[in-house]
């Protein structure tokens, strides 16, 4: 079952924090746990701080990582938002692009199936998410809904230090 939605305030704070860190491009594939963030990316309204964060929807997670990688190669900061079910698709790009060309991209990944009490299709990947990230030495941190800015800073610091794709895991809906 879905975990409790903590509200779009968290999503807005998270996106604002990305803008504060110089992020200019967001791409990804929607997930219901990230619904608040995707809504804001699609329709930022009069939120001037979000105006500088361009959003490009992608058909699949590997393409999203590809788009963000191209922007990073060009000197921009780009982020991918996605569900953990897309880990398989994107893993090839991470192993045969990002990790060989040293192009770190920030990934915000929802954690469906984290407690074994989600829809059945999330059980296997949900149980192994952290082990998979550890296997490829991708630094990760779980979003603290009470301090999204702090979590974003931690994830970016980890990524910059390791120079590998950093993963900010979203366990509760935002």
């Amino acid at each position: 079952m879905h975990t409790t939605t903590v509200g779009s305030t968290t999503a807005r704070d998270l996106l604002h924090s990305l803008v504060d860190h110089g992020y200019t491009l967001a791409t990804g594939v929607p997930c219901s746990l990230l619904n608040g963030a995707f809504r804001l990316l699609e329709e930022p309204g009069d939120d001037a701080r979000l105006a500088g964060l361009r959003y490009v929807p992608a058909p699949r997670e590997d393409s999203a990582v590809g788009i963000a990688s191209g922007a990073v190669v060009a000197g921009e900061r780009a982020v991918v938002l996605m569900q953990n079910s897309g880990l398989g698709y994107r893993l090839n790009v991470i192993t045969s692009f990002n990790l060989i060309y040293d192009v770190p991209v920030l990934l915000i990944v929802s954690w469906r199936g984290h407690d074994g009490n989600d829809a059945v299709e999330h059980d296997v990947i949900g149980a192994e998410l952290l082990r998979l990230l550890d296997l490829f030495r991708l630094p990760h941190t779980v979003l603290d809904p009470a301090d999204p800015a702090g979590s974003v800073s931690t994830a970016i610091d980890q990524m910059d230090k390791e120079q590998r794709c950093g993963v900010l895991i979203v366990r509760e809906g935002i």
């Binding site: 992608a58 699949r60 590997d62 393409s63 990582v65 590809g66 788009i67 191209g70 190669v73 780009a78």
Partner: protein, 151 residues
């Protein structure tokens, strides 16, 4: 009724396409797909504006799109093959809807040449047949095999 499928008027080799592309777009940022395609680009002109993908098959267009979004003042080319495009056909609407002027060049030799010439789709129907069917529909990528023609 679909439009009749016309055979190409002439054949272009990968090296001819690459050479012509470099003549027409000497300042372009080029992201080339893996295998012979990247090797051919390297052999034609190894230049700082080239980004050779040694892996990540199907990713030349998304990576090129990221570059094009970040550098709208530059000409950006995704140099693809039929096999790598078939591996990620969803890039077609992605690029078409992006609002960029990304040039997506697809060289269709009807095979995975770098791994021995196997057809991307089941024999005896070659992928070329599929391409002409696919590109007979209105799209942003009509006639990809002939998107670069000699003058």
């Amino acid at each position: 009724m679909p439009a009749p499928l016309l055979a190409p008027a002439f054949e272009l080799s990968l090296s001819e396409v690459v050479r012509e592309m470099l003549v027409r777009h000497p300042d372009a940022l080029i992201v080339s797909t893996c295998g012979f395609t990247s090797r051919e680009l390297f052999n034609a002109a190894d230049r700082p504006e080239n980004f050779y993908l040694v892996g990540s098959m199907g990713m030349s267009a998304p990576v090129a799109l990221g570059l094009a979004l970040a550098r709208p003042e530059r000409t950006v080319i995704a140099l693809d093959g039929d096999g790598s495009l078939l591996m990620n056909l969803s890039v077609l609407p992605l690029v078409a809807a992006s609002g960029t002027r990304l040039l997506h060049v697809v060289v269709d030799n009807g095979m995975h040449e770098s791994t021995g010439g196997s057809p991307p789709c089941s024999a005896p129907t070659s992928s070329r047949w599929h391409w002409r069917r696919v590109t007979a529909a209105p799209s942003a990528s009509r006639r990809p095999p002939n998107s670069v023609r000699p003058n």
